[in-house]
Symmetry: D3
Subunit: 238 residues, 6 copies
Amino acid sequence: MRADGRDAASLRDIKIVRNYIKHAEGSVLVSFGDTKVICTASVEASVPPFLRGKGSGWVTAEYSMLPRATHSRSPREAVKGKIGGRTHEIQRLIGRSLRAVTDLTLLGERSVLVDCDVIQADGGTRTASITGAYVALADALRGLVTEGAIEAIPLRESVAAVSVGIVNGEVLLDLNYLEDSSAEVDMNFVMTSSERFVEVQGTAELEPFTVSQMDELRNMAMRGIRQLIAIQNEVLAE
Amino acid sequence: MRADGRDAASLRDIKIVRNYIKHAEGSVLVSFGDTKVICTASVEASVPPFLRGKGSGWVTAEYSMLPRATHSRSPREAVKGKIGGRTHEIQRLIGRSLRAVTDLTLLGERSVLVDCDVIQADGGTRTASITGAYVALADALRGLVTEGAIEAIPLRESVAAVSVGIVNGEVLLDLNYLEDSSAEVDMNFVMTSSERFVEVQGTAELEPFTVSQMDELRNMAMRGIRQLIAIQNEVLAE
Amino acid sequence: MRADGRDAASLRDIKIVRNYIKHAEGSVLVSFGDTKVICTASVEASVPPFLRGKGSGWVTAEYSMLPRATHSRSPREAVKGKIGGRTHEIQRLIGRSLRAVTDLTLLGERSVLVDCDVIQADGGTRTASITGAYVALADALRGLVTEGAIEAIPLRESVAAVSVGIVNGEVLLDLNYLEDSSAEVDMNFVMTSSERFVEVQGTAELEPFTVSQMDELRNMAMRGIRQLIAIQNEVLAE
Amino acid sequence: MRADGRDAASLRDIKIVRNYIKHAEGSVLVSFGDTKVICTASVEASVPPFLRGKGSGWVTAEYSMLPRATHSRSPREAVKGKIGGRTHEIQRLIGRSLRAVTDLTLLGERSVLVDCDVIQADGGTRTASITGAYVALADALRGLVTEGAIEAIPLRESVAAVSVGIVNGEVLLDLNYLEDSSAEVDMNFVMTSSERFVEVQGTAELEPFTVSQMDELRNMAMRGIRQLIAIQNEVLAE
Amino acid sequence: MRADGRDAASLRDIKIVRNYIKHAEGSVLVSFGDTKVICTASVEASVPPFLRGKGSGWVTAEYSMLPRATHSRSPREAVKGKIGGRTHEIQRLIGRSLRAVTDLTLLGERSVLVDCDVIQADGGTRTASITGAYVALADALRGLVTEGAIEAIPLRESVAAVSVGIVNGEVLLDLNYLEDSSAEVDMNFVMTSSERFVEVQGTAELEPFTVSQMDELRNMAMRGIRQLIAIQNEVLAE
Amino acid sequence: MRADGRDAASLRDIKIVRNYIKHAEGSVLVSFGDTKVICTASVEASVPPFLRGKGSGWVTAEYSMLPRATHSRSPREAVKGKIGGRTHEIQRLIGRSLRAVTDLTLLGERSVLVDCDVIQADGGTRTASITGAYVALADALRGLVTEGAIEAIPLRESVAAVSVGIVNGEVLLDLNYLEDSSAEVDMNFVMTSSERFVEVQGTAELEPFTVSQMDELRNMAMRGIRQLIAIQNEVLAE
């Protein structure tokens, strides 16, 4: 039994609220327990310079946390004048995850920029961001179909992400902040609905991990992501 | 009758939800119609260098908008690497407004930093921010009393703000984005519960304004702020 | 009687020297007592991106202080690598004030950039800047007429600015640094020759102010600006 | 047979030259084929603020590429004024890999900063950096023992890294630039001499990958890292 | 005969006005013809970190140009967010020139920061800056003696600077902007009153120069600097 | 006899290794004793904006030091977010030196960017950079001739540089770090094969220098540069 009453293999309470911000082409408020992220998908008519004239679209992401999303206040990156290494890592991860399931050629020469802004953080902000960003992206792409800009939604399959870790020797699913900060090992899996991996990132925070531990973490993550994809499907069917 | 059904002297639907972010000492979600701002008040044990050892506290503010709070997406200031002029103006205004009603000596050598993050913008983000920030500040200061750090809440009175403007020759209260972007004159008033002004800012966007127009704008703003202060009192009494 | 011998309703010694910098299309050295600002107006053949192809011109301003314009030396913004909030506020104010009296359509697709550089500061640098900038702008626009680029000077009326404040309970005109730093209330008025306001900014530095105090400040400012406009006219008639 | 004559499971020609830069406490030139990286380890007497007074040391890394290390010239990050996302990701990875095998408490309150500067790039710059950085770190720590600052070398085991990938459906070890840029899947493994993982990073560049592909990639990487660790041991025994 | 009526070996009209800015410990307006520079010397009670506790003072300089000091407007370095290479070169040169004649030990643990701000540029801004900065520095140091902080003015001798160049094959003294921009060779000499050199900088802009040309340039510069030092002495004797 | 066994008028051991980096159009590793610099010349198809459409090419340079090139580690300029004054000075010097011997019109509308990255520093990094950069530039230009882009190598003559200084009253050639840091006077000469000067920079670090000392320094530098040019010729003839 974990501090918040879950067993080792349970996700936190997962919620995805669609159409959360009225201006955006797609937008959700995603909650993994007390972790809450606003994901908005903005469609833009242009592509980055390296893609111009190549008939392909682009999907990218930016990630940020409100200063008081965290237990103690963190200074704004805008005030520091530069984006930190952790932010860079996470937003690149979100972008790659979304591109892996998008048919960029079908999208045509346009971009979707997904902003993931954490308003309250309690561990797993990057996995909640990817899981919510997929829904915001799907809504924005549906809108393009509705307005006749493209013929079909250019998504090959769906994608979601979850964290797993080893805490006090035990393998746990979907770590909250307290668990995460005492984890020996921390892994994030990004998997598609065809049960294939887009991203795998494992870090030994305190103690390197063995092949068999990696397999156990992977199995638990796969079970969690299957549930997240089911929730995405349910929400998108509303 | 205005586009959203209000008459000239009416506020939009005003909501202030307290305890919106679990980590912050004070936090609200304030809505002025479709304008929504998260205000968090963070108590810090130190003061800026120019106040060290002087027995006085400090209250300051930072302001930002999520990239897709606006109709079309605005680039992040963190990406541009610097904070723009408009942001500077607004956050300095919020800070001065809060300090005007705070007894900084009673606060003792500690700071309260209020973050106002606009998650959806529809005009009047600075006035909604000030009105919400006061409630978040009050909650954070109450917490200091509760935990015995200070004896009484160091607030002399309450403060709220509203915009007024001249649109097509007519004086209107609490402009939404559409009204604001076609206004000839735009004024913001920050007033305390003793009906005294902390800040007055008026700008002729298209056409300079006369003394009598300024008086009319002021009267309408004063009526609006009285209502906002009543709502603050109600919410804080819950 | 004030420390420098003036009575409450008097301006300091005002001087405007035209053609102060030989390269600029318009340039003045403006003095409000010991506050001295070099204002240069530079005509450029282009407009900002948001105005391209719209047949309208643009007037904007930049403001800075030499490091030792102030009593103790202030670090350069170029060394800090960013422009501070106060600078942003002031240069946006100067730009708006000048645009309010300029017919931007008559100006055609060109820009006038007015630089206000304070070489010695003793309070009221922003009001001196606006008052001097108008003269530099007028000279630059005259030059455009002389060289046949436009047919008439695209100025609808003239504009000047002054500060007023409450110091020890007394309403004073055109505060110097010593007065300004002990003022309870500080207001800046920007008014045109038709006695209409372009900008009104009032701040309670120590104590909020009442409606009747605001009226008294406004009356005194209006009298001061009438005198400043008379001086501008005189200088421009030389 | 690969373009450079290797079979799928072979490393490129690996060389580690010790004592390459005379000023540094530890320094190597590491080559993975045509990828060449200078790694220097600098011992500093202080630790970052979050560790001060806690009796623990710190190991961190910085990574950069000379502008013409790559096929076409890349602008310097110093000229752009900020460090890019890829650089951040890589230098954080190197730092975590080294800390995973270092006993920071035994190190005492001092830091080792390892700089990895790529002078010629041909794929695998991050894995070459980690493999070389370990040797530079070991040399710097030996120096601390030699001069009596610490009693034993505070390294629990050794660490090395290699890339693996799927190119045209085939699993390959230690990809060069040409292979890397056409890979469907790209994984980096960081493993210690006890055959435990410090970091695992896998990215589907074109096509998500299955569980069995991940296992195949992992097996090949483990074989490659065993050889790299043997080379490190050999070089350090000289 | 040159365009402005001088012969090859003549300085432009040189003026040094002392006590130009009321706040600064030393300040001058120096003119070399149409080149005008405000030099202020600010005394600060601290020294840079590398000198703390060593009983030595420091003299340094900053240099800047108002945006419209030049024929066409140059963007502010504060707006660009960084100081350019030319500015760096010049301010380092001014600082070294002043330190060469200052007895830093006699100065004690305090700094003098000399700001050279060009308000109008017509060639030779760096040599005018050095020549004026010396007088501002001397005044600031006199002030320290007057207030009893130090016993004697810690200046070993005086220093001034001039430019020389080869234009259309002819060696000219004190080039104005027009001459400077068409010069084949451009040299700046900084010399003390004992006729010794502090700095020599020569650049072949179009054509390398011979030993004998260098000697001719040097002789002419020495004659010019002797005159500048005479003017400094005269002004300081007032 | 100097600390490293040389007499006053001797160069250190000079080595220039061509084709050091495989990607660059020209590249050398140049050593002046323990000072080692990688110089790469990159040919680009464009010219800076101020040269576009004028039928002229451009040669420019960038300079940097690896953090641990120096005795104690220096922070990266990319981390500080800006390039320091010393770097600016040196890279401008290298660029001017190379342009002085290049026929930019013959080069056509293309640029050569020479990067000088110091991997180990022991005094004289700028003079080693210029001497090596010339060889890298020559190789890149030869490549353009070989591929038929231009008809002849657009170099009018060769160029090299050396430092001279006065240490303990004695004039020395090619100072190493130890000598340089205790020098009373430090001069750098850049001279072409026709024995004409491109750049002369002399600085009195401790004590101003006389005309006759300058002549002695110049003679010794000229002898040193003649030897460096002979080595360049030899290396380029291989």
